[in-house]
Amino acid sequence: MLRFSILVEHWDLYMQGFGHTIKASVLALIGSLALGTIIAIFRIAPIRPLNWIGTAYVEFIRNIPLVLIVFVFFMGLPAVGIRFDSFTAGTLGLMVYTAAFIAEAIRSGIQAVPKGQMEAARSSGLTYLQAMRYVILPQAVKIVIPPLGNQFINLVKNSSVLGVIAGLDLMYYGDLISSKTFVTFDVYIFVALFYLVLTIPLSLGVGYLERRLLKAR
């Protein structure tokens, strides 16, 4: 039987970890949406050097582990004198990593809008940017939302990587509580439940949006 007394007695610690997990996820989401959009624009803009930069970012970041990126912020940059606390280092690492995936989601959403739309907008006198802003992006947003939702779910799960660098998240507090109580099994079952409280509703929401989008087509 699970010892619920552990949950009750250490509720405050669990809540602190839970709060930090949410905070890191939301901050990293906002950051990676901004960075990801810029990189997506780099990838599709009709300017070659920008395309290369965008592609290089996406391909490089997607193919290396998140742990490595977080370590770069936590240990690599401090080695050259740029210091962050562990929470900030972890959140920045999450942001840089997730931005590559978000950029891909946005790019494929924009490219899913039929080419004729851009051509029609351009030939009716709109500039490239106007066509993007008023014709392409409004259509792309609908396509992009479900994959972005999936990225946010991954982001919440990936935020556990903060635990590796003592980043004050749920994993870190789980570790703390288990070293206080000398209990691991029950402590981590409760940690798991806290993650599920976040990820299951998100998964259901994304599933709902996906089905609705499928019907709308």
């Binding site: 193919n63 490595l68 080695a79 799960k157 556990s160 590796v164 099994f185 981590y188 940690v191 798991a192």
Partner: protein, 217 residues
């Protein structure tokens, strides 16, 4: 300061390669086992075997919505508490297999569902049993479609092995951190090298996956 010459001493390079071999070994064993479990779970869910199918659905959804890091912690630190003690290698492989089987079962299930229902009807009306239809008609076609997403999943898996650093599995990230511990001037050169090691393998895999996807169109 960065000490490239010191960081890339032959002994260090050898040590990193040893770590990388463990990474590749763990990733390979895990993907093979996960593939087998993934097919079994995917087929059970596709054929909607009553009770078992619903049970697996709950299990798969729960596991998919948890951070892999938590599962690694669990198999290594929590299972001994209930009498199941695994060494680092087996704990890491079990965690990866638990997580990836859930992921792959979803790939298998959607691969199976993407095969036209007419195929089943045609096979059944030409006298094949349901089992034969699945084995000779549906699975072979679905497997071909599953290859690209499975390769992508293998790339994630290869990156995710780095999470086993929390249980000090002697894989690439762990060996990198051991070298980093010797001299702070090694940190950046080592991270650059390690990033390229992951990148080269994963990028090559992603090119293979893209080629396969292209050929199928």
């Amino acid at each position: 300061m960065m000490d490239f010459a010191g960081a890339y001493a032959p002994a260090h390079l050898k040590f990193l390669l040893q770590g990388f071999l463990v990474t590749l070994e763990v990733a390979f064993i895990s993907i093979v086992l996960s593939f087998i479990f993934g097919i079994v779970i995917g087929v059970i869910r596709y054929t909607k075997i009553p009770v078992l199918s619903q049970l697996l659905a709950v299990l798969v959804e729960t596991i998919r919505n948890l951070p892999l890091l938590l599962i690694i912690f669990f198999t290594y630190f929590a299972l001994p508490e209930v009498g199941l003690k695994l060494d680092k290698l087996y704990a890491a492989i079990s965690a990866l297999v638990i997580f990836e089987s859930a992921m792959l079962s979803e790939i298998v299930r959607s691969g199976l569902q993407s095969i036209d229902k007419g195929q089943i009807e045609a096979a059944r009306s030409s006298g094949l049993t349901y089992g034969q239809t699945l084995w000779y008609i549906i699975l072979p076609q679905a497997l071909r479609r599953m290859v690209p997403p499975i390769v992508s999943q293998f790339i994630s898996l290869l990156k995710d092995t780095s999470l086993a650093i929390v249980i000090s599995l002697p894989e690439l990230m762990n060996h990198a951190q051991i070298i980093n511990g010797r001299n702070v001037n090694f940190v950046i050169p080592i991270f650059i090298l390690v990033a390229f090691m992951y990148f080269i393998v994963n990028y090559s895999l992603s090119l293979v996956s893209r080629r396969l996807e292209y050929r199928q169109r």
